[in-house]
Symmetry: C2
Subunit: 552 residues, 2 copies
Amino acid sequence: MSISALQKARYEYQPKVPAILTEKLDNIAIEFGKATESVADQADLKSLFKNTYGKPLATFKKGANPDVSKQLNVGIILSGGQAPGGHNVIAGLYDGVKKGNKNSKLYGFLGGPSGLIEGQYVEITDELMDAYRNTGGFDIIGSGRTKIETPEQYAASMETAKKMDLDAIVIIGGDDSNTNAALLAEKFVEAGAKTRVIGCPKTIDGDLKNEMIETSFGFDTACKTYSELIGNIERDANSAKKYWHFIKLMGRSASHIALECELQTQANYCLISEEVEAKKMTLRQITDDLCKIIAKRAETAGNFGVILIPEGLVEFIPEMKTLIAELNDKMALKADEFNKLVSFAEKKDWLKANLSAASYETFASLPESIAAQFLADRDPHGNVQVSRIDTEKLLAMMVEGRLAEMKKEGTYKGKFSSYCHFFGYEGRCAFPSNFDADYCYSLGFTAFLLIASGVTGYLSSVRNLTAPAAEWLAGGVPLTMMMNMEQRHGSKKPVIKKALVELDGEPFKKYAANRDKWAVNTDFLFPGAIQYYGPDAVCNATTKTLQLEHQK
Amino acid sequence: MSISALQKARYEYQPKVPAILTEKLDNIAIEFGKATESVADQADLKSLFKNTYGKPLATFKKGANPDVSKQLNVGIILSGGQAPGGHNVIAGLYDGVKKGNKNSKLYGFLGGPSGLIEGQYVEITDELMDAYRNTGGFDIIGSGRTKIETPEQYAASMETAKKMDLDAIVIIGGDDSNTNAALLAEKFVEAGAKTRVIGCPKTIDGDLKNEMIETSFGFDTACKTYSELIGNIERDANSAKKYWHFIKLMGRSASHIALECELQTQANYCLISEEVEAKKMTLRQITDDLCKIIAKRAETAGNFGVILIPEGLVEFIPEMKTLIAELNDKMALKADEFNKLVSFAEKKDWLKANLSAASYETFASLPESIAAQFLADRDPHGNVQVSRIDTEKLLAMMVEGRLAEMKKEGTYKGKFSSYCHFFGYEGRCAFPSNFDADYCYSLGFTAFLLIASGVTGYLSSVRNLTAPAAEWLAGGVPLTMMMNMEQRHGSKKPVIKKALVELDGEPFKKYAANRDKWAVNTDFLFPGAIQYYGPDAVCNATTKTLQLEHQK
């Protein structure tokens, strides 16, 4: 197989790691801190996680570790959407496992958690591993979205672990997958099985973070890739002075990606879903805000600009949230009836009869091509697929309509032409930035140390990330510490609390303090393509989010 | 104004240039070769370009050049769409002009050719220039698409040149803009004015090339940027194994960009407009070809893949070309009548009555949402805007429909889900690759040498581009050498012949020899982001097109 010049060069990259990870293995000891509590619902969680609740924080320090060279069988799972650096987590884990004992084995479960359920796996060898070091994607073993939920799935998973004589399973995933990891850890202990379960914080969305987890991996690379493209488009907009670009950015619920990209590129406006929800903004208000900026720029800077939109926005606009909830309800409840309708007009009539008046009004106010998306692209459960709604086009059309009115009123004198973009798949599998390559390798190696220290139900944790890698701190966080109980499909479930953008956090405050200026001026920043070589400031900088959240 | 870390670092970059350009200026002499002929229509062109036709090729060699330090006033124009490296052409020209005589002046015309017509310009100073070295975009002075065509526009342009006492004007543009440059050069000589006109070959589309112009600038950077994204998407597709990605790539007529990206990424299929036209392929045939590959991969590799589509495709499908021509004719001819129609159904009825039966059938066979685009997004002359037609969605929908039929027939057993992308604005303003930074700076400096040598109607030419920069050859090509006569808006006009993809050229042959394999296997290449630093193979490689066309 031929490979690109960059891929070949990246094979040679040696990830930077915390100083402690460069010690001899038998001189790296686990040190426990205080016992922990979950973020909420302590009693409920304590009763659900009888064996694994409330464990202490763990840190690795110099000290004797006589058991580290024990032979081990370890399995690894990539779960959920791709994030740059996944291969390096495996590489760090692999190198740790083999350094501990060259007869130890690492097995990769194929296609995500279903590989564990079905016992589908491959042994990771030097040759296989070396072909994936410092590369993007999850293609080494594939990923999947199966959740281990039913008693049968738990039993099958435990059966596989038993058959393979697994000492540990590492699950690389986001909030859901790590919730799953916590439950699996508990089940193994409950059953008296020896298999430990360790999680690794993955998601480009950046919403798996807390006091002990400074960032999830992949966020850095994905944001830098999107910011490269946004910067290029900004430069184009400022050169041609013809278009308003509406750019939707991936990130299921939280607006971390959009906010980070905004800080990296200083686009004219960035919608933040969390703010929209907090202020209970209507679609009309959002449209008006955008139109005000466009009208103002038309008089000063010109008829061009760039607007960033988080993927999950529509679900944070109260009237749209209600509409989606009603649509999901009604279309599911009367699925047979609804599915018989053919034309959009028929469907619209049906909705008029079935939705609340307010929701029908919201629906009817949408441009027809967008309204149709609410009805067409439903998931297997009949639910509206929010990620398939062209929010960027919706806003561009609403803005166009409103500007036409303003023109008549005499409050807008410009010329409006728009271009829409959606960036998501473009960034999830990029070659990991040096930061993600280093961070992921360290997370994987730390996961091995946690396994070798005999703990279970922990998330691998590498902290102090704004300092040089040598000063990073390696350790583990009990998964239950990050959990609370939430309503899911009608019943209370233990879940890892999603970290949304905090409106009193430093990243948002930085944006809020500058946005009026960035909106009207042309203060674009052009980050350019991710660099893996070159001056330190060019190839080793962390995200602005991380810098702002951890500035001293 | 704050700037990004990469922009700051790129200011320090010293473009590599042909060895001759590092000589003392008074030791760089112009050497003329044989007189030239236009590519066709010699007699017509000779009579149109009485003073500038048939000039000899020029090359710069060591030798006395006593006049090089004469004080000069030079103007520069950025014309047409952005291409990475435009700022470096200006930088090379600026450095040449100032090296020749520090009292010489370089003026930048604002907003493209209209800046010359209207006398809108700015003096380029050290401070202004230094803020734009090695950066993307055309924002230093802006660009525009105005053509200098009417007698009034020529007169105004010459008036500006006279007022500013210009010794030369450099026009950075594509085929149209350089045709304009040739005409302007001729007019100045005809009028006895001293102003010389020199062109520079710009366009990301890569269609301005010939024996003496190996590539237009910007093609390298744009293709590398698109290939980065395609590679990331390929890796995502191969990790998730869920989607077929349909990716449309900018490039008005020629398929050079799509072909180059295909060679860089080895996507499963790449449509080449020139081949579609040569084989007179119908939309149905194209759809069938794609479906065959998708069905085959469903049985072997899986339900995923990547397909590349050149932007201009629809105009190369004979039935669509006819449809578009008829639509343009009829909608213009009976504009009043047509513009009164409101609903799509009414418009369709009207077309049934007004188009030929064959064209109406083609129109009616299109998915409604795409058919509507043919009628909605027309340019100010009432013509269909081909670049606004979602060809990628058209193909995805046609494929989906055909696969559903094949499923019923039992010839397809897979699961089809598609994602559409269009990459264009993402790459036109990237930081120029080292290649484009070097090439552009050299083109600009060479343009100065041509001016200082007193010639007019030449295109700055830097050749031997697959060798290290020191071995590049600097010179000039008479613009008339690249021209022929073509039918434009009902009359024969002199134009620079567009270079389309040659089906017997090495780049296409390379693809043709591999495509069956790439279609069915998963032989993806992941080029990653453009690197400006690092190993030579990573940051200094030229395009595959250039390598294949000039391999020895």
